[in-house]
């Protein structure tokens, strides 16, 4: 797998603040992977998201996307076409007066000819399952539907990377499922790289790698199994331990001879069953 995005020793400070929001952050993201970025409020994870497509520019260091640099003004717009962001509040990123107009907004900005635009809208709206709603007004859509429209808008731009900036945190469980399933399909079938800023444990557990941010620094980066078995790391980052890890630990306390923590229910059931039939 090749590197699609590189953050090289980036530091960033908001003008009104005294403290750095990001301190010497270095990481790289592989083509086609699903990277979850987690950490408690104020850990710098949302700031990081905004640096990835040049909505914020680093004070030092640089951000590189497929060989283009956000600090290079001539390349910034191409980076924004390739890196789409779905933001947290479904309402505050819906620009058009209808689904169709909203998906068109990005294409209009990038000067896509009208015939091509219509073709791309029709195609991308199908990928998010909103083709029945093309003429619907935004205030008649649910939060999950609005987020799927936002995804369609990005998809129409033929992106390489989709960033979810806490995109499911204001949704109900059904909306969350809808959105994640949509993005998962795009990740699997189209090979679009996903970087997801999230508090959602389930989501982090099912990603390829997890990045934990703490006080503006990268505090850990690794496979979910490595990250979530480190309880103190997780609690420091203001997160909850996954259910199956908690249960594994409690079972050991109760004297069940489990040798390690399990991340998913399926693994734990299997381990218990092996244990039981072995004894």
């Amino acid at each position: 797998m090749s590197e699609i995005l590189k953050v090289n020793d980036v530091s960033f400070k908001y003008p009104a603040e005294t403290e750095l929001a990001l301190k010497n952050v270095t990481l790289s993201c592989m083509k086609g992977e699903w990277l979850s970025v987690t950490g408690h409020n104020g850990s710098g994870k949302s700031t990081l998201a905004k640096l990835l497509n040049g909505l914020l520019l680093p004070d030092s260091g640089n951000v590189e996307v497929e060989g283009l640099f956000t600090t290079n003004m001539d390349e910034l717009w191409e980076i924004r076409r390739r890196v789409g962001v779905v933001f947290q509040n479904p309402d505050n990123q819906f620009v058009g007066t209808s689904v169709r107009d909203d998906i068109a907004f990005g294409l209009e900005n990038f000067g896509v000819p009208r015939d091509e635009m219509i073709r791309r809208i029709d195609e991308s709206v199908k990928h998010v399952g909103m083709e029945q709603y093309l003429d619907q007004e935004p205030h008649l859509l649910s939060g999950g539907q609005k987020q799927r429209v936002a995804i369609a808008g990005i998809l129409a731009q033929a992106p390489s990377i989709i960033i979810l900036d806490e995109a499911t945190s204001m949704l109900d469980p059904m909306g969350r499922k809808e959105v994640l399933e949509t993005v998962r399909t795009l990740n699997k079938e189209k090979g679009i790289t996903v970087i997801s800023i999230t508090h959602d444990l389930e989501e982090a557990l099912h990603s390829d790698r997890v990045l934990v941010m703490n006080k503006g620094r990268v505090s850990a980066l690794g496979a979910p199994s490595d990250i979530f078995s480190n309880t103190s790391l997780i609690l420091d980052a203001g997160l909850d331990t996954p259910f199956s890890v908690k249960l594994s630990q409690k079972l050991r306390e109760e004297g069940v001879p489990l040798t390690r923590d399990y991340l998913t229910q399926e693994e734990l059931v299997k381990a218990l069953w092996t244990l039981k039939s072995g004894s």
Binding site: L55, N92, Q93, P113, E137, G153
Partner: protein
């Protein structure tokens, strides 16, 4: 009472008027506003009124709907009528009530001016009733396009209008939500002396403003993220389509103008 006001509202139907290009409708309304001032006698006002009724009939907007919606405007029309009846001192005295003398010229003037006001309001209402707000915005952007040469921010203006339209329902929902939250904390928006009532709206307005600013900030960021950088180099999905019927509509207005010029005295 507010929900009965139809000024600025859209009436969904499928009529020739609904299908017309917003530019021709805007232009026609504009022309009408100017040429109605040509009318100054019974025949010319009659012609303008007939024309308005013809437009109403072809809009498929029920006359009753328009009538109910314009009720609040009738008060204004009636007031104008009274003003003229009592203030204009022309022609013969029809009758007098004590010191108040009503002149023939006043009554005729009053009737004409009220009719003019009525026709103006009807025509502009028909424009908004048959054209969605976003189409009006598009039409305005195209019509005002030449002003760009004078460095006027025509594109920005149109975008601002369309974003406002997009957010009106969202802000209404939000208003209701905050209102309820404050009522649950004992706020009272409906009773008490007027001064108290104005003060009662502070707990509603401040949260609304704060949230509107936050929305604006987030929206600007989202727009930038989606590659927005002003009107330069943008293509458009929404397309306007000027057809024969639009040319005919403008021709009809020209014809009306000619009729008014020939019949006025």
């Amino acid at each position: 009472m507010l929900q009965n006001v139809i000024i600025g509202q859209y009436y969904p139907a499928s009529s020739v008027l609904h299908r017309m290009d917003p530019r021709s409708k805007l232009l026609a309304s504009f022309i009408f506003i100017f040429i109605i001032f040509l009318a100054n006698n019974f025949i010319s006002y009659g012609a303008a009124a007939l024309f308005t009724l013809f437009v109403l009939a072809s809009s498929k907007v029920p006359a009753g709907y328009l009538y109910r919606g314009l009720k609040p405007v009738f008060f204004l029309v009636f007031f104008t009528l009274l003003l003229h009846v009592f203030m204009t001192k022309e022609g013969d005295v029809l009758f007098s009530l004590g010191w108040l003398k009503v002149y023939e010229g006043g009554v005729i003037q009053g009737l004409y001016i009220s009719l003019r006001l009525m026709l103006l309001v009807m025509m502009t209402s028909l424009l908004t009733l048959t054209t969605t707000p976003i189409d009006i915005t598009d039409g305005l952007e195209y019509l005002l396009h030449p002003l760009k040469k004078l460095k006027l921010p025509v594109h920005e203006f149109a975008l601002m209008m369309s974003i406002s339209l997009r957010f009106i329902p969202t802000l209404l929902q939000e208003t209701e939500k905050i209102m309820k939250a404050q009522m649950a904390r004992g706020a009272d928006f409906t009773s008490g002396p007027i001064k108290e009532r104005v003060k009662a709206f502070v707990p509603l307005l401040i949260p609304l403003f704060i949230s509107a600013f936050k929305r604006a900030e987030e929206l600007a960021l989202a727009m930038e993220s989606r590659g927005y950088r002003g009107g330069e180099g943008r293509t458009r999905l929404r397309e306007l389509n000027w057809q024969l019927r639009d040319t005919l509509a403008i021709a009809a207005l020209a014809l009306l103008a000619a009729v008014l010029i020939f019949t006025r005295s």
